[in-house]
Symmetry: C2
Subunit: 242 residues, 2 copies
């Protein structure tokens, strides 16, 4: 099926450019499982043909998804759906660390109530039922960060510790595998805080030592808020880079 024709588009007051429609259709294809993680999309020429636009327009439509890390282009080979593993990876690690050196451990997964920040970020009312998932990040076996993640409880029924561990404690894998939801991380916000008792114990830093707090909202590719996460990490041995 071709995209909206030129003449039809004239009538729509708030039409999207064709390349934005290409983007949307590719996203839809990914979320509906037409192309799985690591799989190749049809060639740009074939997509152009399928969508009824020129190849240049397809290219421009894919550009933004490549920039977001959803797609990966390999010259001479094709365009591939990025592996979900790469998606958060860097955000959870200090500068220079390799993903292979890191491990995630699930500490808790329980129902809770949305605090001020989480409620605002997720578009819920204050005190709404949320799922609070706490994980510990280790780098080369050494504790590096704690991550508190909040999602709306009613949207992710059935998520429990077992399912999270099945996905190697990678939440974006859970959202994708079980709910067909591809998310990308939004702009991080930074704070410096002091380590509390629990953080001190779990991260192996002195109480009242400085911790870097990185909070970010993960949204679906269509922009809907999905997951609010707050990471607290030590930066005495590592530097954090976005």
């Amino acid at each position: 099926m071709a995209l909206v024709s030129q003449s039809a588009r004239q009538d729509m007051p708030s039409r999207q450019p064709l390349y934005a429609q290409v983007r949307s259709r590719v996203i839809a294809g990914i979320e509906q499982g037409e192309w799985g993680a690591g799989e190749a999309l049809p060639s740009e020429i074939e997509l152009a043909d399928r969508f009824g636009v020129s190849s240049g327009t397809v290219r421009k439509g894919l550009d933004s998804l490549v920039a977001e890390g959803v797609l990966v282009r390999r010259q001479g080979l094709g365009t591939f759906v990025a592996l979900a593993d790469d998606e958060w990876g860097r955000a959870e690690l200090p500068a220079g660390a390799r993903a292979v050196d890191a491990s995630l451990e699930l500490l808790a997964c329980a129902r809770s109530h949305a605090g001020e920040e989480a409620a605002v970020a997720l578009g819920l009312r204050r005190g709404a039922a949320v799922l609070l998932i706490t994980r510990l990040v280790r780098v080369l076996g050494e504790p590096f960060a704690l991550i508190d993640s909040y999602v709306a409880a009613d949207r992710f029924e059935g998520v429990d510790a077992r399912r999270i561990r099945q996905a190697d404690c990678k939440l974006h894998r859970v959202w994708w595998r079980e709910f067909g939801l591809r998310v990308v991380a939004g702009e991080p916000q930074f704070r410096a805080v002091l380590a509390g008792r629990d953080e001190s114990r779990l991260l192996g830093v002195p109480a009242d030592g400085p911790l870097l707090e990185v909070a970010r909202l993960a949204a679906g590719l269509d922009g809907q808020a999905v997951e609010w996460s707050v990471l607290r990490c030590r930066t005495d041995r590592y530097v954090y880079r976005v």
Copy 2:
């Protein structure tokens, strides 16, 4: 003068794409003062004509400079050289603050010796002569951050407190006005640190309170390292966003 011709480019083993050459020539034009801050570039069609490439290639060449904030496009009007004021602005302010609410105060400008980090970042040997410029950022009159900036001393002869104050304490203005050097900020690195005595006093936070440290390297548009800056800010009332 046209860019390198197709046939000539064949012979060059490591040739750049035409759009990259367009970018370079526009940068050169800006740095040589052909188009000043706030001024309009020639239209894309005229640039295409002047550079001997198609308008699509000019457009692609300008895209990256627009993305970096060096140029600003206004539909129906033209493409303009961004005002230098916008360049760092956001990096020095907490989330939500408007540039108009902020003020910069010069605390010190003195010769010093490059520490480990600054030397590596600037590509100098350890202990090399540098200029250390310390400034205080206020938001709505209230102290928010301290910025230590390091530049190679021999490269910026004649920079002193007077000249910096003349540029409203904005260093990128100094580099541009007096040295024809346009810089863009690189990727920030984050740390959490504890406030020392001076920082505590100047920022009005408790000693041993948490501070967010944001270090970044500013480079010329051609990629050469220019300025290494380390910002330490309080995040008790503000959140920092990149």
